[in-house]
């Protein structure tokens, strides 16, 4: 398409404090590097994700920092550079999409191309409408098309300007998984040719898995960790990440002893006799720690198992069982309560009901040591 095929890396260092009436001040202090391709910005609502995007787009002025897209300095508090949003060439798809309600889909898409000669403009509009499969909707207004179509039109409107960077703020919320996947595929296909940095904000685990190339996790205005989604989500070293990343069991305990040679430590869970072996972490005997375990990583046995490699076998009693779609969520009281996921078939075969005595089996490496 355009001449600038590789717009290069986006780097953003942003500091900002906002004082809000009736609540503690909100501070943002992040440093991001976004290479070409999709990078997910992940975190709970209120983490400051949208504010980061607003700063990059130039809609919010940081107190200090430096934002550079490729070679172009967009903001630098030291040298006083602050390129206005209309000159940044950073496309931004808002959560609300913000399509112009009084314009047709085609007029919306052409909005950012006013300076181009008429023929080039209509050629580019045509091309992007086709790429996002919305060419049939060109004459319709936003209120007259479906949610998924609106999201496609909003994407088209941003992509057609050939931006340096693309910012997406939860653009696919409210769509079903099918539609989401289809739109993501089209976005990927488009970016295969463009190779620009795309920063994709979401708090949905599902979207992380679908998009996952790189991921930055944020909370309370700070970057918690970054890497591939596997790295960030599967070994959450932070309590909050453990909660958002789907660790149903988050147990507190005390470190008993460290066995450096084996790479493990023993943790006694609070208010119980349960002791567990977990991978070695930065802790000393006597420290309070948390252990995160996925409900799906726990095995259930109806008699005491022998001859297993798993190091943690804990006896307990089923307190409740709840069916959620094709999944059964059992609560097991072992002194502390564990949540265990199992399939309806397994529950039938083992004749599991409330009150049954069970043994939980946990591999050491299914237990994650979490920093407070």
């Amino acid at each position: 398409m355009g001449s600038e095929v590789n717009a290069g890396m986006l780097t953003a260092r942003v500091k900002l404090v906002r004082f809000r009436a009736g609540s503690p001040p909100f501070g943002l202090d992040v440093s991001l590097q976004v290479p070409a391709g999709i990078t997910i910005l992940f975190g709970p609502s209120g983490a400051g994700k949208s504010t980061v995007l607003d700063c990059i787009a130039g809609l919010v002025r940081p107190d200090s920092g430096r934002i550079v897209a490729g070679e172009k300095v967009l903001f630098d508090s030291e040298s006083g550079v602050n390129v206005p949003p209309q000159a940044r060439r950073i496309a931004y798809v808002f959560q609300t999409l913000a399509l112009f309600p009084h314009m047709t889909a085609e007029e919306n898409v052409a909005f950012g191309l006013d300076e181009l000669p008429r023929e080039e403009r209509s050629a580019r509009v045509e091309e992007i409408l086709k790429a996002l499969r919305v060419e049939k909707l060109r004459g319709r207004k936003p209120a007259e098309i479906s949610g998924g179509e609106r999201q496609r039109v909003a994407l088209a409107r941003s992509l057609v300007t050939q931006p340096r960077v693309l910012l997406l703020d939860e653009p696919l919320t409210g769509l079903d998984a099918h539609l989401k996947a289809a739109i993501v595929d089209d976005l990927r296909a488009w970016n295969a040719a463009q190779r620009i940095p795309i920063l994709y904000v979401t708090h949905s685990r599902e979207e992380v898995n679908a998009l996952g190339e790189r991921m930055i996790a944020m909370d309370q205005g700070r970057v918690l960790s970054e890497g591939t989604p596997m790295e960030v989500l599967d070994a959450p070293r932070h309590k909050l990440l453990a909660q958002v990343a789907g660790f149903e069991n988050l147990l507190s305990g005390t470190v008993m002893d460290l066995r450096e040679a084996d790479g493990v430590m023993r943790v006694r869970l609070s208010e119980s006799d349960c002791e567990m072996e977990v991978p070695l972490g930065h802790a000393a005997p006597g420290d309070s720690v948390r252990v995160a375990i996925r409900a799906g990583d726990i095995l259930l046995a109806t008699s005491q198992p022998h001859g297993l490699s798993a190091r943690n076998v804990i006896e307990g009693r089923i307190v409740s069982m709840e069916t959620r779609g094709t999944l059964i969520r059992a609560r097991v009281d072992c002194g502390v309560e564990f949540i265990v996921h199992l399939t309806p078939g397994a529950a039938r075969t083992l004749e599991l009901t409330v009150g049954v005595r069970v043994w939980l089996v946990l591999k050491t490496h299914s237990c994650h040591f979490v920093e407070e």
Partner: protein
Amino acid sequence: MDALLLSLRLALCVSAILLAGGLPLAYWLAYSNWRGKFLLEAVVALPLVLPPTVLGFYVLLAMGPRGPLGKLWLAFFGHGLAFTFEGLVLASVLYSLPFAVQPLIASFESVDRKLLDASAVLGAGRIKTFWRVILPLSIPGVVTALVLSFAHTMGEFGVVLMVGGNLAGVTRTVSIDIYDHVQSLEYADANRMALVLLAISFSVLSVVYAVNRHMGRQISRRLWTPWAAK
């Protein structure tokens, strides 16, 4: 009929001037972050609370041969401003200012800020954003502003009396004419003029409310979409 034509001419001039000047003023009042903005807002709203005679009195002083406006006008055009049609237009513009500016501010402020952000990140400067996004979404406010300033100017009395006096064909508007007729006990003439004014006012307002209702429904339907409702 002279008086009626004069009133119509005056109202048209005033509405046109108020629209041209009201758009930038309302834009500034709606979007500026200046701390002292409230002062200007208060000034714009003053004619709502001041008796027309007070406003008229000060405008008359300013327009008089020794007033700043009067002097300036004399220097440029070679004649005074008080008791002329131009003077009447100027006074009426001030008097009807809030009726034009406030509906504009209200409709500008009701435009979703995210649309302005979207326009900016798509490369549009303030002027393009105003003409392509803000104004088209504020049409009902523009119509209301036009009609209110027209109707308000048609019906004004106190300011005209203070500033314009009562010169046939120059400053004798319908309302003054009616007053004259009543003073001279010519009730039939007064009634004729009053009825015409009543009929004009009623039909103009009916048309406007009908148009606005239609447009308003269209606009609210456009804005009321599932993603906004969520």
